[in-house]
Symmetry: C2
Subunit: 333 residues, 2 copies
DNA sequence: GCGCCTAGTGTTAGCGATAACACTGCGCGC
DNA sequence: GCGCGCAGTGTTATCGCTAACACTAGGCGC
C-alpha cells in the first residue's frame, strides 16, 4: 500500500506538506504542489479513509435512510437516492444507505461509531419515533418531509399543502364544482406519512374556501382497489368532473379503467396528477400535473447538509413551491 | 466521546480485553464478559469505525454499484438494493452506494482508499469496461450479470438463457406455433446489457429447435413505442398467438392496448411476462410469468461476497434456475 | 536596523482501535 | 515436584493521517 510517507519521500517533502497539498489548508508553492501531485499520480496514491477519519474525525460519508419497502412510490424514492448520491459526490462525499427498518438504533449506531458525518432521512412520519433520537444526535440531520415537531432539525420537501391548494384552484378556475382526490394507499395515511396529510389538508381547505364539493379517498395500489374507488366515485348523484390523483402507482390503471368505462379525458372527466414530470409525460394520455421534484429535493437536501457540516447551524424548513404543468388532461367540465 | 479505554476503566480490565470481548477472538471468563458488557451498555460505547478500520484494515463496508439512471427497470433495482442492504446488515456490514456513472475510476477510488472491503456491481454489460479494472483490484467482487469474460470474478444472476427457453417451451407446450418477444428498450441492447442478450439467445435457439416461428423486437418504455410494436406484430399474415414480454415497464400499457384493440387475454393472445412476481400479480389481469428473483439474487450476492471475505477464493458463476408460475394469462391458441 | 507580518515548510503528538507478545496461575501427567 | 499446556488477562507497538506547533527567510514600515 502506498502511504503519504511514500509520496512525501518521492517528492522530497514532508508528509504534512503532502497532506496540505491535498486539503488546501495552507499555502503551498506552485513548484512543490506540482512535484507532490506528480508523485501522487505516479505512485497511484489514495489517502486511507480510516486513517483520515481517525485523525480528522471526518468520514466524508453521508448516511441516507431510505424506506426500502415496496409499498411506497418506488421510482420517486429511487430518483431521490440517485440525486443525493450524485450531489454528494460533488462535495467529495460518499453515501451510505440505511433502511428505515433499522429504526432509531440504526441511527445511534451510525453516528455513535462515527461511520457517517451526517444524516438524510426520507419518508418521515408526523410523529416519527426517530425524530427525538435525531434531535439528540449532535450531528447534522436533514429530513425529507416535515414531522409534527421538527424542533431544530432541517426539513426539505415539496410544499404539499400548497400543491393540494393549487390542484383545487386549477380545477375551480376551469369551472369544476365537484371534484375528488384519489390519494395514496390507506397504509400511507395510517403510518402518518407527513406528505399525504399535508396534501389532503391543502386540498380540503381550499375546496371549502372556494365552495367546491370535494370527496377524497385513499386507494391501495391494485386494480381491485382502484375499481372499487371508481365505482364509488362515478356512481354519485352529483357527477364528479375533476379528479386529482396523488398516487403514482395507479395512474396507468386509472386511465385504462376510465377508457374501459368509456370516459374520455378531459371531455368527460379532467385528470390532474401529482407525480414526477417524466411519469406524467409517459402515460397513455399526457397528464396535467403538479410535479414532484425528487431530484431537486435530493440535491437541496445535500446542499443543506453540507451547509450544516460547514458550521451553519440555523434550522430551516424549506418547502418548494409546487409547479403545475398543463398537458391537456384537464379542461372545462 | 466514549472510548475503549473508558469502558476498560469502568469494567476494571485492560482495553484489549474489551476489544476481545467484542470480537470474540480469544476466550474471556464469563464474569469478565458480563462486566465489560455492562460497562459498554452503561456508557453507550460504540467502537470508532475509523480507528477500527485503521487497526484491522477492515471497514465492514460493502460498496454497491447501482445503475441510477431511470431507463432501467427501477423497481427491480430497488428490490435488489433493499435485499442487499438487509442481508449485509445480517453480517454486520453497511452498504455504500456508488453510481455506475463513476465508472472504473470510482471503483479504484473506493478500493484504493480502503473505503470498502468488497464490491457488488449491478447491471454488468457484455464487454463492460469496469470488468478488467475489477479483476485487477485484489478485493472480493461479485457481479450481478455475466460479462463475456468474467475471468476469476464471481457472478450471480437469473439464468436468463434458460428463462428464454422456458418461455418458448411453455407456449409451445400449449400449442402455439407463432410467437413474439417484446424485449427491453433498444438502448438496453445497444449498451450490451448482458441479461437482454442471454434471454434473447435462449428464446431464439429454443424456438428454432422446436420449429416455432418467432419474432423479437425491443420496445422503448413509452406508449408510442409500444403502439408501433403492436401495430407491427398484430398486422402480420401469420397471426401471433403468444407474446413473451421481457420489459416490466410496458406490461400495464400492453394490457391496456390489447384491451383497447379488443384482444382478449388469453383467448385471443397469450401473454407471458418476465418480471418480479408481485408485478405479475398486480396487473389488470394476473400474468403467467417467469419470476425475476431480485431479492434472492441480492441475498445470494451478499453471501458470496462474505464467503470471499472469509478467504474462500474459488470463482463461481451462479445462475438461478427460472421459475414459471401459471396465472392464467396463457392458454391454448 | 528592529520588529513584525507573511509565505512556505518540517517535526511530531495524537486519533482509538487491534493484535502480537508477554505474563500468571492452575491442573495434570508422570 | 517438575514441566507443560491452557485459560485468562495485561502492555504496548502499530495502523496512516491530520494539525498543532515550530521554524526560516524575505519584505515592509518607521
Amino acid at each position: 500500500m502506498v502511504t503519504i510517507a511514500d509520496v512525501a519521500r518521492a517528492a522530497g517533502v514532508s508528509p504534512s506538506t503532502v497532506s496540505y497539498v491535498l486539503s488546501g489548508k495552507r499555502s503551498i508553492s506552485e513548484d512543490t504542489r506540482r512535484r507532490v501531485q506528480r508523485s501522487i499520480r505516479k505512485l497511484g496514491y489514495h489517502p486511507n479513509a480510516g486513517a483520515r477519519a481517525l485523525a480528522s474525525s471526518r468520514t466524508n460519508l453521508l448516511a441516507l435512510v431510505v424506506p426500502l419497502r415496496t409499498d411506497l412510490n418506488v421510482p420517486v424514492a429511487m430518483q431521490f437516492v440517485a440525486a443525493t448520491v450524485s450531489e454528494a459526490r460533488a462535495y467529495d462525499y460518499d453515501v451510505l444507505v440505511l433502511t428505515k427498518d433499522e429504526g432509531p438504533d440504526g441511527l445511534r449506531r451510525v453516528t455513535g461509531s462515527s461511520i457517517a458525518d451526517a444524516l438524510i432521512v426520507m419518508d418521515v412520519e408526523s410523529a416519527d419515533p426517530r425524530v427525538p433520537v435525531l434531535q439528540s444526535l449532535d450531528r447534522p440531520v436533514v429530513l425529507i418531509g416535515v414531522p409534527d415537531e421538527p424542533g431544530d432539525l432541517t426539513c426539505v420537501d415539496l410544499d404539499f399543502e400548497a400543491a393540494g391548494a393549487q390542484c383545487v384552484r386549477h380545477l375551480a378556475g376551469l369551472g369544476h364544482r365537484t371534484i375528488a382526490l384519489l390519494g395514496p394507499s390507506p397504509v400511507v395515511y395510517e403510518r402518518g406519512t407527513s406528505y399525504a396529510g399535508r396534501f389532503l389538508k391543502g386540498f380540503k381547505q381550499t375546496a371549502t374556501a372556494a365552495k367546491i364539493r370535494e370527496t377524497s379517498m385513499p386507494c391501495a395500489p391494485t386494480y381491485e382497489a382502484l375499481r372499487i374507488c371508481l365505482d364509488n366515485l362515478l356512481a354519485r348523484r352529483r357527477a364528479i368532473t375533476g379528479l386529482v390523483v396523488h398516487n403514482e402507482a395507479i395512474l396507468g390503471p386509472l386511465l385504462s379503467e376510465l377508457a374501459r368505462r368509456g370516459k374520455k379525458v378531459p371531455q368527460d372527466i379532467s385528470v390532474l396528477a401529482v407525480c414526477p414530470d417524466d411519469m406524467a409525460v409517459s402515460q397513455a394520455i399526457p397528464l396535467t400535473s403538479v410535479s414532484i421534484p425528487s431530484i431537486a429535493v435530493g440535491e437541496l437536501a445535500v446542499e443543506m447538509v453540507m451547509k450544516r457540516l460547514d458550521g451553519v447551524t440555523a434550522a430551516e424548513v424549506r418547502l418548494l413551491s409546487p409547479v403545475l404543468t398543463d398537458r391537456g388532461s384537464t379542461g372545462r367540465p
